[in-house]
């Protein structure tokens, strides 16, 4: 029988190894799997390369993981925002590496990684510093740069509901990077508000089919990053 439900959130992240590449879903706080990230902090893996659109806010969730010194490198499109101080400090102190990728190129590189496409051409970034050193080619009179697929050892994502097969649906704009990260990681771990029986999700509306998911953890009442930050919370 296929049963990807994992009752223990710490066991769910227990095999993330030092030096792993970890994709973490979320655009700002929407879709950020904050409980999985906190479990990863407890777990202790370090020297991580983290792929996320941002770098977290306050000192909870992704920002807490960075503050704990566990992240050697960030791959992201927008590493600063309101209430984001942890990454900027470490970056200025030379303690963390940054690979800056345009947001659409980041999304497409992740999709390509999951789709078995090692590289593709895009017009995004042509003529900018982010295209320097990259292969350029002209198609029908327009210049493009070659970008490479991005894969990961693990993905940590957040959904609204899932079944034991790992089929996942999302909530509004919390969907963002999660479905493509699920395809690009060798092991995908998802936290959801609710676990439902097989058949409880309309097959026409499943966004992430279970083949892309390895472990499902139910977190019925996840924390809200913005509320924690407003309250000055800090993890651990």
């Amino acid at each position: 029988m296929i049963d990807k439900l994992q009752p223990d959130i710490h066991e769910a992240v227990g095999n993330i190894h030092d030096g792993a590449t970890v994709m973490i879903g979320g655009f700002g706080e929407a879709g950020s799997p904050i409980e999985l990230i906190h479990a990863l902090i407890d777990h202790g893996a370090t020297g991580l390369t983290v792929v996320n659109n941002n770098t977290g806010t306050g000192e909870v969730g992704l920002a807490a993981l960075i503050a704990a010194g566990r992240v050697a490198k960030m791959i992201c499109s927008y590493p600063r925002s309101v209430n984001s101080t942890v990454f900027p400090e470490q970056y200025r102190a030379g303690k963390i590496e940054l690979e800056l990728v345009p947001q659409g190129t980041l999304a497409e590189r992740i999709r390509a990684g999951g789709a078995g496409i090692p590289a593709f051409f895009t017009a995004t970034s042509v003529g900018t510093p982010l295209a320097e050193g990259k292969e350029h080619r002209t198609f029908e009179g327009r210049q493009y740069v070659l970008e490479h697929g991005l894969t990961a050892d693990f993905a940590l994502i957040k959904g609204r509901a899932a079944d034991r097969y790992g089929n996942v649906v999302y909530n509004c704009t919390a969907r963002n990077f999660a479905p493509i990260m699920a395809t690009a990681a060798r092991t995908t771990i998802v936290q959801v508000h609710q676990v439902v029986e097989p058949g409880g999700l309309d097959p026409e509306c499943v966004i992430t089919p279970g083949i892309f998911v390895d472990r499902v953890v139910e977190v019925a009442h996840p924390l809200h990053e913005s509320e924690l930050v407003a309250a000055g919370a800090r993890y651990p």
């Binding site: 655009f27 700002g28 706080e29 929407a30 879709g31 659109n53 499109s77 927008y78 590493p79 600063r80 925002s81 309101v82 990454f87 900027p88 970056y91 200025r92 940054l98 800056l100 990728v101 345009p102 947001q103 659409g104 190129t105 999304a107 497409e108 992740i110 999709r111 895009t122 017009a123 995004t124 970034s125 042509v126 003529g127 900018t128 510093p129 982010l130 999302y170 909530n171 509004c172 704009t173 919390a174 969907r175 963002n176 990077f177 999660a178 479905p179 493509i180 966004i207 809200h224 990053e225 913005s226």
Partner: protein, 233 residues
């Protein structure tokens, strides 16, 4: 919309007036992505008889205004990470699909802020290149290369009075030859093969006043004044 003569220190349009001016040029039925900052204000000024569909790159087509107090969902936000709503007929999708809309040329209009715009339509809007700055690009490079038309909405000059419309951008570029039109507090200006083409002066602003604050020659409005309301893409 007329300039307030009692407050001579304010020449040209306010932020809201700039947004309103640009909104007049968005045609009925357009698919539009509004950048962070002044561009976000534009949606509030589109004439009521036009239906415009707003895209936010974090996965929503059919974005509506901010929710009533206490009714928001922290997982229903725009690219500026502010809470929004979804209109009837909206659709959610993931980030790769969202940038299919952008990169694939499906959106009609992108409205963005700017640090600098060159006479050739180059845009710099993501980094001053300062050594201690945290570089952050977001979706701007994808938008300028993918969307049908790119309108810049910006103050004509920096806070220090330097022109933002220049011969050549000195800041790191967002895109090359990508800007179609510029809306500032002082004027509306098209980027053309001949250079910066004045389309319209803000009320009470003279050609010379704008030229003095522009880092490249400004072509005067041709006579007779045939104002276009260009719908690209």
């Amino acid at each position: 919309m007329s300039r307030n003569d009692a407050a001579p220190e304010r020449v040209g349009l306010s932020r809201e007036e700039m947004a309103r001016r640009l909104a007049l040029d968005i045609p009925d039925g357009a698919y539009v992505n509004l950048g962070i900052g002044i561009p976000e204000l534009v949606a509030g000024f589109v004439p009521a008889d036009r239906e415009v569909v707003y895209h936010t790159e974090n996965g929503l087509l059919g974005m509506g205004p901010a929710p009533a107090a206490g009714e928001g969902d922290p997982e229903l936000i725009n690219a500026g990470k502010k809470q929004v709503t979804a209109v009837p007929g909206a659709a959610f999708f993931h980030h790769a699909d969202s940038f299919v809309m952008i990169r694939g040329g499906h959106l009609d209009l992108s409205v963005l802020g700017a640090l600098q715009v060159s006479v050739g339509g180059d845009l710099a809007n993501w980094s001053t290149g300062a050594p201690d700055a945290i570089p952050a690009v977001g979706g701007a490079m994808d938008l300028v290369n993918g969307v049908g038309a790119v309108y810049v909405l910006t103050q004509h000059c920096t806070r220090h009075g330097e022109p933002k419309l220049v011969e050549r951008c000195t800041y790191p570029l967002t895109g090359v030859g990508v800007v179609n039109r510029i809306y500032t507090d002082l004027a509306v200006i098209d980027v053309t093969p001949e250079g910066f083409q004045l389309v319209e002066l803000s009320p009470g602003v003279s050609f010379e006043y704008v030229q003095e604050r522009t880092g490249a020659p400004l072509l005067p409005v041709p006579e007779p004044h045939a104002r276009e309301s260009v719908a690209h893409g």
